[in-house]
């Protein structure tokens, strides 16, 4: 077999057995500064990080986020998500409790929310979980999209719509396109076919190169136009079949 280089072997040999371990924990302060250390504890509103020069303590208000190494049982909890979603949720709840205040609690909540909505169809629980998540973790576009999808399933359109309107004007094209699709989904749910079609066609028009959303937009635009008995529906669905023959949406036609 071809050798891919010996540099890594040398690298292994170079690992000093007694060396101080690399930092497994990081605290990001509100000032933007990052403090690295071996471990983090959180107790009564205070974070303590073990740094090579000794422990340092920061109050909650000083800390933007605290990240520690992957907690034990994480992989197992995630692996259960498909086969035993309830067990997976229980394990993740435990992790979230143990890692309270650290980044892993936010991650655990995110998975719980997804398992609740996608595997169990329990959108109410999913929404509650999202609402318990630390504010900084809600900054992530994918988390927001997940939350909004849940709210749409619960019919809480009034809460989502203003946010979507803001998102579609944002600079992030992928996020903006997804926001536009969700706006179309709301209209579809309310059987407002023409506004829905326009939302999806906006994605078709403006986000041609965002292949991840373009196929979905073609499909949904086609379907909403079908509801309107518009003769352009078949054109869009034909284009979907031609342009994205392997996509899941082409398979739905």
């Amino acid at each position: 077999m071809e050798r891919h280089g010996n540099s890594m072997i040398v690298f292994v040999l170079a690992v000093i057995v007694f060396a101080v371990p690399v930092c497994a924990a990081v605290i990001e302060l509100e000032t933007g500064k990052k403090v690295q250390g071996a471990s983090i504890r959180y107790s009564r509103g205070q974070y303590t990080i073990e740094t090579p020069t000794g422990p340092r303590t920061y109050s909650e208000s000083q800390v933007r986020r605290a990240i520690s190494s992957k907690p034990a049982g994480w992989d197992q909890a995630i692996s259960l998500a498909r086969s035993q979603p309830e067990k997976s949720i229980a394990a993740l709840e435990e992790i979230a409790k143990a890692e309270k205040g650290l980044d892993w609690d936010a991650q655990a909540y995110r998975y719980i929310a997804r398992i609740s909505s996608e595997r169990l169809g329990d959108f109410q629980q999913a929404a509650e979980v999202y609402e318990r998540m630390p504010p900084y973790s809600m900054d992530k576009p994918e988390v927001k999209i997940g939350y909004w999808k849940v709210l749409i399933e619960l019919g809480r359109y009034d809460e989502v719509e203003p946010k979507l309107n803001k998102v579609v004007q944002s600079g992030n094209r992928e996020f903006s396109a997804r926001g536009q699709l969700l706006r179309g989904d709301i209209n579809m749910k309310q059987r407002r076919w023409e506004p829905a079609a326009l939302d999806f066609l906006r994605v078709v028009h403006f986000y041609k190169r965002q292949r991840s959303v373009h196929a979905e937009a073609l499909y949904k635009a086609g379907k909403s136009l079908e509801e309107l008995r518009h003769d352009g529906a078949s054109r869009l669905l034909e284009e979907l079949k031609k342009t994205y023959p392997d996509s899941e949406y082409a398979g739905k036609i």
Binding site: I9, T31, L201, H205
Partner: protein, 977 residues
């Protein structure tokens, strides 16, 4: 399938109304899609335009209505789309009105006018279309230099030329065509356009029979232009000859026209022979078709002239000349004698012969259609002149060439490196036969031809068209790969990478896709584009688990993640590699690295399992162990085996959970270290393993065993650093596991036999002791070191260590003495700041304040670091306080406390906090109430939860009260009032 949508390098006469739409669309797309995405109205207008383009004008109307409702003040911005809508619904009047309201000199104005022009042309309103195009051209004093605008300008001018030519306005068409000559055209294209311009002028001149001067002017212009054309090689010489003959014909100089053609006949023939040799289609491309056709024209004209002239001699003839007609007046032919008829018939008969030749030999060439019409005219003339003709050709249109023949012709051009002709021929055939078995090859060649012509954007567009339109087609995939290789060989790496990326995206199932991904990732690595490299490798791993590149990608991805300390990602990749690779050194390395990832993350239990797996796999004692089949790898594998063996023991000793099993783990670790010692007596890790075993004993409180182990280390490995300094190793290990007494005992042993150790060892011991506040042991170690070395670096370290230790012990005199020794030894010592600070503190302790101030002054003079100067400032305040100079100390603290953003740097924030509190205390003592209020405010602002905040508040209240007391009484309450 859609027509090929790349920039058509087509001759202008192939331009069509669709071209007009395309160029207007191009402009509008640019205007909407690129320029002003930030504005919602512009976005919506662009969207509405897109809807019209997609065939949804009704939805566009809805968007427009919503827009007008929401932004009534932006109605101006919607004009463009309203105009487009009006056009889509063929409401030209309304469209015209709306377009008229948009300034013609704006980008939007230009775009919409061209679009409207196209619509008018489609509705047979040529004048209106022309006016709009003219308005567009009037915007430019000269040909635009901006490439995109020039492209629009060129297409618009070609399009207008077509419109005007079709409307019979030849002179205007020629002028329109002439607009683009000043642009950046290649010489071949320029000749081609000039040839067409000459033809247009000749045709314009032919219509000026009654205006001799004008006719002459046009023909002179045409003749002048021909000189520019003919210096382009034999091909252009014969084209020029045909044009000259046409000019002579227009001047009724029939014999001269025939003579000039005859003079050049040899060249016509040579070219045809060379075409035959090159297997270029003669019927399609031979210039001799033009030769025969023009001769036909001359004979036809001459024969008709002969007939007309004979009629003119008749006394009853009306003097009405109908150009190009056979009969001068009604019944004119009946006035001719048989001789006259025969003479005319003979000449026209020659024309018939010429046209027949064109149709017979060049039936698919550029003159065939006209020749067919002319032949019909001549046959009619012959018949009316009393003759009969037996045709040897079919007058019905010749069947066009089939796809294969056309492809073959284009290929011939391509093989002969005639890339302009090749690309035109390929485009022509593709437009006629967009999807045949030859399409992949044709598109590949087209891309190359474009590239050879310097049209790289067209080459890229062709490649992308292939990818998008033929996604999944194996032959096209091959073509794209060929193009990618071709671009790379032509030193166009960006284009090549783009081709590879398109290939990967559109042909994920192609057998070569994994290799391409791997190569792309390697290229990204060469460019240090780590993100792209990782993305491509991850894609390779996710998509192609069965590919031969899968393992390579896993390895490279794992190595990259490891180097970036992304140990979880690295572990995942190395684990997959280890699971799937065949037995060998590389697999062993992967397993080892997967375990290392856990080790680096201090997941010792997982790391132990990983190393154990390596140990089991690499055990050389196993019969037929596949890892030792290739003898050249044996050494590497044995080395890995040794490392893994050591690491498994070490990891076992570090596991701390579950607590009740820790002692068992440590006992097992010791057993493993013993086993290691047995197996690898002379191994390079043997002393390290022994030291680690000693450390485990210390953790288990088995001091005797630990001591014995370290003694054993010293005896067994006297030549290794660990062996030579086993006691230091013991001290170090003991301090690490918190056994200070054992450490001190060992230091005593070292001190008792100092010659046995390197001076550096004592320096290290001193530092270790000092760090753990064991000052006497530190002093002893440093003194032993100073007694045994003259190395200036070590001596500096010794004096500094002694100064610090004595100061920490409270012996300020000895501290000063040692620091002064250090400064005397090297006044530019690396310990300068720290030593000066120790000196200042020691001097303050010994009440030698002037010396303390001198030490601090030295810092101010020599150290420019702001942070260190702040620390010195703090010490200065303490010295000043010790001197009883409260005002000066207050000023020093004040400088610290008024730092604008004291929380910005956590390293100094505490210094500022303490400085502020001290300043506050001093301000109270000095009764500087304003300063008290200021400091109290700062404390509340920055450290509201400080444990002295209650005192701070009290001070603040006191200061307010005192200030109120000191304030002058109001006039009416003042004493004496």
């Amino acid at each position: 399938m859609a027509r090929l949508d790349v920039k058509p390098a087509m001759k202008y006469w192939e331009a069509s109304p669709c071209l007009g739409s395309a160029l207007a669309g191009l402009l509008i797309t640019c205007l909407f899609a690129v320029g002003t995405m930030a504005d919602e109205v512009t976005d919506e207008v662009s969207f509405a335009s897109g809807l019209i383009g997609m065939g949804f004008p009704d939805l566009a109307e809805t968007v427009l209505e919503q827009l007008q409702e929401r932004y009534p003040d932006r109605v101006e911005d919607t004009k463009l789309i309203r105009a487009e809508l009006a056009m889509a619904y063929r409401r030209f009047e309304e469209a015209e009105k709306l377009v008229g309201e948009i300034p013609a000199n704006s980008n939007k104005g230009r775009a919409i006018r061209l679009k409207l022009g196209t619509f008018f042309y489609g509705a047979d309103q040529v004048d209106k279309a022309r006016a709009l195009y003219e308005e567009f051209f009037d915007q430019f004093d000269t040909v635009p230099t901006d490439p995109e605008m020039y492209e629009t300008y060129e297409k618009a001018s070609l399009h207008l030329t077509v419109i005007l030519e079709n409307a019979g306005q030849y002179e205007a068409a020629a002028d329109s065509l002439g607009r683009i000559f000043a642009g950046n055209l290649d010489s071949e294209d320029l000749r081609m356009y000039k040839e067409k311009q000459v033809t247009l002028w000749i045709r314009a001149a032919e219509g000026k029979e009654a205006a001799a001067e004008e006719k002459k002017g046009l023909l002179d212009k045409a003749a002048g232009q021909i000189r520019d054309i003919e210096f382009g090689g034999p091909f252009w010489v014969v084209r020029a000859t045909i044009l000259r003959a046409k000019i002579l014909l227009a001047e009724d100089k029939f014999d001269e026209a025939l003579a000039i053609l005859k003079r050049q006949y040899r060249i016509f023939k040579q070219i045809e022979v060379s075409y035959q040799e090159e297997r270029i289609s003669i019927p399609e491309f031979s210039p001799k078709s033009g030769y025969h056709y023009v001769r036909g024209l001359v004979y036809q004209e001459k024969g008709f002239d002969a007939a007309r002239n004979a009629q003119r001699r008749h006394p009853d003839a009306l003097v009405v000349d109908v150009p190009n007609s056979l009969e001068l007046f009604v019944g004119g032919l009946e006035t001719l004698s048989e001789v006259e008829k025969l003479a005319a018939r003979k000449i026209v008969g020659k024309a018939v012969g010429c046209y027949t030749k064109v149709l017979k030999d060049y039936g698919t060439g550029e003159h065939a259609m006209d020749a067919r019409l002319r032949l019909a005219e001549c046959m009619d003339a012959v018949r009316r002149l009393g003759g009969t003709i037996k045709l040897t050709v079919d007058l019905k249109p010749t069947k066009p060439l089939d796809a294969d023949e056309m492809f073959r012709i284009a290929d011939t051009f391509y093989r002969n490196k005639k890339h302009r002709e090749a690309s035109e021929a390929y485009l022509k055939v593709l437009n006629q036969f967009p999807k045949t078995s030859a399409t992949p090859r044709v598109l590949t060649n087209l891309g190359k031809s474009f590239f050879h012509r310097g049209h790289t954007l067209d080459a890229q567009a062709t490649m992308m068209y292939m990818a998008e339109q033929f996604s999944g087609d194996g032959e096209v995939a091959k073509g794209i790969l060929k193009l990618a290789t071709f671009f790379r060989k032509q030193s166009a790496p960006v284009l090549s990478d783009r081709a590879y990326l398109e290939f990967v995206e559109h042909f994920p199932g192609h057998p070569k896709a994994p290799r391409v991904l791997y190569v792309l990732a390697q290229l990204a690595k060469e460019k240090s584009n780590e993100t792209e490299e990782a993305r491509l490798m991850d894609l390779l791993v996710a998509r192609y688990p069965d590919s031969e590149y899968y393992l390579k990608a896993l390895w490279v991805g794992g190595a990259t993640a490891y180097e970036r300390e992304q140990f979880d990602a690295a572990k995942m990749k190395f684990t997959l590699y280890g699971d799937q690779a065949p037995e060998g050194n590389q697999k062993a390395n992967a397993m080892m690295l997967a375990a290392e990832c856990d080790f680096r993350k201090e997941r010792y239990a997982d790391a132990f399992k990983g190393f154990r797996k390596v140990v089991k796999a690499l055990d050389p004692g196993l019969a037929g162990n596949p890892y030792y089949v290739q003898s050249e790898e044996n050494g590497d594998n044995e080395s890995l085996y040794q490392q893994a063996f050591f690491k498994q023991a070490y990891c076992l000793s570090k596991i701390e959970e579950p607590v009740e099993k820790v002692s068992d783990f440590r006992a097992d670790a010791i057993n493993l270290f013993d086993e290691f010692a047995k197996r690898f007596k002379a191994g390079e890790l043997a002393p390290t393993a022994l030291a680690a075993k000693g450390a485990v004993y210390l953790q288990m409180d088995r001091y005797d065993d630990a001591t014995t182990t370290f003694e054993h280390l010293s005896e067994t490995f006297p030549d290794t650093p660990e062996g030579q300094n086993s006691l230091y190793t013991l001290v170090d290990a003991a301090m690490k596991v918190g056994k200070a007494d054992i450490a001190m005992e060992s230091v005593d042993k070292m001190a008792a036999n100092p010659e046995a150790y390197e001076p550096l060892m004592f320096a290290r011991v001193g530092q270790l002791m000092l760090a753990n506040d064991l000052h006497d042991q530190a002093i002893r170690a440093y003194e032993i070191m100073l007694d045994s070395t003259e190395d200036p670096g070590l001596r500096e370290r010794g004096y500094y260590g002694l100064g610090t230790s004595y100061h920490a012990k409270g012996d300020c005199g000895k501290a000063i003495e040692n620091i002064q020794e250090l400064i005397e030894l090297n006044e530019k010592t690396g310990y300068f700041f720290e030593a000066s600070m120790v000196l200042a503190k020691a001097c303050r302790m010994c009440e030698q304040y002037d010396d303390a101030l001198q030490a601090l002054t030295a810092i101010y003079e020599q150290d420019k670091d702001a942070g260190r100067r702040k620390k010195a400032e703090f010490e200065l305040a303490l010295v000043q306080l010790a001197q009883g100079r409260k005002d000066a100390a207050f000023a020093s603290y004040l400088r610290l406390s008024l730092y604008p953003d004291p929380l910005r740097d956590p390293v100094f924030s505490d210094l500022y906090r303490v400085g502020t509190l001290r300043c506050l205390d001093l301000a109270m003592e000095l009764k500087d109430w304003d300063a008290v209020l200021l400091m109290a405010e700062r404390m509340k602002q920055f450290w509201p939860e400080d444990n002295r905040i209650g005192v701070v508040n009290n001070f603040r209240d006191d200061a307010l009260l005192e200030k109120a007391r000191e304030a002058p009484l109001p006039r009416e309450l003042a004493p004496g009032q």
